[in-house]
């Protein structure tokens, strides 16, 4: 079949089973857009800014496990997309970004809308390609999807010069990929499994610490039986929430800077840390001096470069975490008689004591709306079943602390890069993937303004997400750090000249609500979620001075958590 390069692009996406492409047209991508127009297999979602396209594709990917696909033009098209690509990169999200490029003979001559897309994206993609001929397109797209979705996933960019999309060649989509320099995922060695389980059976103060890798590997079920078989405490990172049910007694809450007191203290006092699909990020470890001084570390990850990067592993297993958990579970079953629950009973006693501190506690009788309260009520109103996206800041931490997740792929946030503006477009991607599910975007009045233009996209495609804006008239996390570390010099953290969000939502054709009394929170949420086919922007006027507690401040360790001061 003879096709143009542009048609090959679209056909290749079809071959990959792509349902949705998030994008924005422009000169260098026009042939591809024309090819989109002449088919109806792959649907194109027109966003309002290329950053929105990448976050939407990202939300789609995070909530489905399938790769998100983005199409942008050259120059500003790809530079606008970079923030979203970097966001996906930092959280290992599978994504394929197709960018138009100026015509091949013009490359290097500072042509209109020319930018070195491969160069500018290189530090924030898993891999990228500049297509050199029409014959390369199909095989390169095949490789891009293969690389994006295997091993440790990540974004892959394919940059396609415009003239090549007009050339014609025979279309043949490759069935498989062979890349000698991209080896298949490594497998665990049986002896590593035996050694690791032996260490587990002898541990007196173990902690199971799981990250985004468990979510990416779809290993929730395997993790659940692993934790239950051993009866060990389990903590999730911000990226790993939902991998273990929030209300299970073996769950000790989120770990890290704003995690629970019990999770952080347990890490510090542990004699065995079992790290699964997690990377000992600085927001998790606190200062590395004095990190878990008595702990032996078992580290399981598919990416060898995270092993020994921040924390030295005593037992390292480089493999898919789902396969490792299956192997652990088999080995534990084989040694079931050697499990001695009394070995960890003192440990559990200690953990219960820490737990009784109730480190997430806040003033529930406040006359002003507390952001935590809104998130708790959101959990109740949605039955804990909603997909929740967030932006970045205090509201993100309140969402992580208070929503209470029980499933993976439902908590969608920018953990690694910390990208404000992520929440709304990500929620669009989630809603497109799960049209019948409740999708809430927990945001703040600062973050929401970074991609607010996507309210128009939500109108065009009828994406009735619910925006839960916790409006404290401050860049709350910045304000909190300024309170703690800069003697309350609130430099540029106040959000002045805010728009009337209710009127703004209505201007885009949506429903707007403002809620300023705690007594109205639940009713308003119920009313909003009852409007199944409307986007509702809920502007909650919250306490300006509320802080996120507990907190491991910069340069401090797990055992030096700052707790909420007594009233």
């Amino acid at each position: 079949m003879q096709l143009s390069g542009a048609e090959i692009v679209v056909k290749s996406l079809e071959e990959e089973g792509v349902e949705f492409v998030f994008g924005y047209p422009g000169g260098a991508a026009l042939h591809i857009y024309d090819a989109f127009h002449r088919q109806d297999q792959v649907k194109h979602i027109l966003v309002r800014h290329e950053q929105g396209a990448t976050h939407a594709a990202d939300g789609y990917a995070r909530s489905t496990g399938k790769p998100g696909v983005v199409l942008v033009t050259s120059g500003p098209g790809i530079t606008n997309a970079i923030t979203g690509i970097a966001t996906a990169y930092m959280d290992s999200i599978p994504m394929v970004v197709l960018s138009g490029q100026v015509m091949k003979p013009l490359i290097g001559y500072d042509a209109f809308q020319e930018i070195d897309a491969v160069g500018i994206s290189r530090p924030c993609v898993k891999h990228n390609f500049l297509i050199q001929s029409v014959e390369e397109i199909a095989a390169t797209i095949k490789k891009a999807f293969h690389i994006a979705t295997t091993g440790r996933p990540g974004p892959v960019l394919v940059d396609i010069p415009k003239d090549i999309t007009a050339e014609v060649t025979e279309f043949l989509y490759p069935k498989s990929v062979e890349m000698r320099s991209y080896p298949p995922a490594p497998k665990a060695h049986p002896s590593e499994i035996v050694t690791a389980v032996e260490a587990m059976l002898n541990a007196k103060r173990p902690v199971i610490y799981t990250g985004g890798g468990v979510v990416l590997a779809h290993a929730q079920k395997e993790l659940s039986s692993f934790v239950k078989k051993l009866g060990f405490p389990c903590t999730n990172t911000l990226m790993g929430l939902g991998a273990y049910p929030h209300d299970d007694p073996l769950f000790i809450g989120m770990l890290g800077m704003h995690g629970t007191y019990e999770a952080n203290l347990a890490m510090h006092d542990s004699d065995l840390i079992i790290a699964l699909g997690a990377r000992f990020d600085d927001r998790i470890t606190g200062t590395l001096d004095g990190f878990a001084p008595h702990a032996k570390v078992i580290h399981v990850d598919i990416d060898p470069s995270v092993i020994d990067k921040n924390i030295k592993a005593d037992i390292a297993i480089v493999a898919d975490v789902k396969e490792v958990l299956e192997a652990f579970n088999q080995e534990i079953d084989r040694r079931i008689k050697d499990i001695n629950p009394s070995l960890v009973s003192d440990w559990w006693g200690q953990i219960q004591e820490w737990r009784s501190v109730n480190s997430y506690g806040y003033d529930e009788d406040s006359k002003i709306i507390k952001p935590q309260y809104v998130v708790q009520k959101l959990h109740e109103v949605t039955g804990g079943e909603a997909y929740v996206t967030s932006d970045v800041g205090q509201h993100q931490m309140f969402a992580a602390q208070f929503y209470g997740f029980s499933d993976t792929h439902k908590w969608i946030n920018s953990g690694g890069l910390g990208t404000m503006g992520f929440g709304l477009p990500a929620a669009m991607g989630v809603k497109i993937a799960h049209p019948d599910a409740d999708v809430a975007c927990i945001t703040g009045e600062g973050s929401i303004q970074m991609c607010i233009q996507e309210l128009a996209t939500c109108q065009q495609y009828k994406l009735p997400v619910k925006i839960i804006s916790l409006n404290n008239r401050y860049l709350g996390m910045v304000r909190q750090w300024q309170e703690f570390s800069y003697e309350k010099r609130y430099s540029n953290s106040y959000m002045d000249s805010l728009p009337d969000f209710v009127a703004l939502a209505e201007a885009y054709g949506h429903v707007g609500m403002q809620i300023d009394k705690p007594g109205d929170v639940e009713g308003a949420l119920k009313e909003a979620f009852a409007m199944k086919d409307r986007l509702v922007f809920m502007d909650f006027i919250t306490d300006q001075k509320e802080n996120v507690y507990p907190m491991i401040e910069s340069g401090k360790g797990h055992h030096e958590m700052r707790l909420r001061p007594a009233k």
Partner: protein, 165 residues
């Protein structure tokens, strides 16, 4: 510790910038970096000289291996190996200096290329250490220009670095 890492790289455009970008992005030190085609037209061999403790070198190797264009790599300093660097030195030697220069050139098994009556280029290949020694011996003379190729090398046992397939 100084390490020489030999890398077989897919002969793709931009492969070099992926490696140099990795080193600058992660703050790894590059003492020298050379790259040229190999007997297999699809592969280039890159030789990187870097320094760091074992943990840093381990990270460098892991991150290099993660690059899709990297087909194979080996820290050749771990075993017996050859390292060679080419140096060219353009200098001034007049009168008695010329005889001194010839002695040095002989002692180092280098060669001398005449540019003019008083200007010469000394050419030598050897380990970086030997190149340093040559340069030390030449510093009595007026050196105009100096070009070092950077280190290239091979393991000198029977192991062969090949692309995985």
């Amino acid at each position: 510790m100084r390490h020489i890492i030999s890398v077989l790289l897919e002969n793709e455009s931009g492969a070099l910038s992926r490696v140099s970008g990795l080193f600058s992005a992660r703050g790894y030190n590059i003492e020298s970096l050379t790259v040229a085609p190999t007997n297999d037209a699809t592969l280039s061999r890159m030789t990187i000289v870097t320094t760091g403790d074992d943990r840093k070198i381990d990270q460098i190797e892991k991150h290099l291996n993660k690059l899709v264009d990297v087909a194979a790599l080996q820290d050749i300093t771990i075993g017996s190996h050859l390292e060679r660097e080419v140096v060219l030195v353009k200098l001034l030697a007049q009168g008695q200096e010329k005889a001194d220069l010839e002695k040095i050139v002989d002692a180092f098994n280098a060669s001398l290329i005449t540019v003019s009556g008083s200007q010469f280029i000394v050419e030598m290949s050897g380990s970086s250490e030997k190149v340093d020694e040559l340069l030390k011996s030449l510093n009595r003379l007026t050196v105009f220009e100096l070009a070092r190729s950077g280190v290239t090398g091979l393991s000198s046992d029977e192991t062969v670095l090949t692309a995985q397939s």
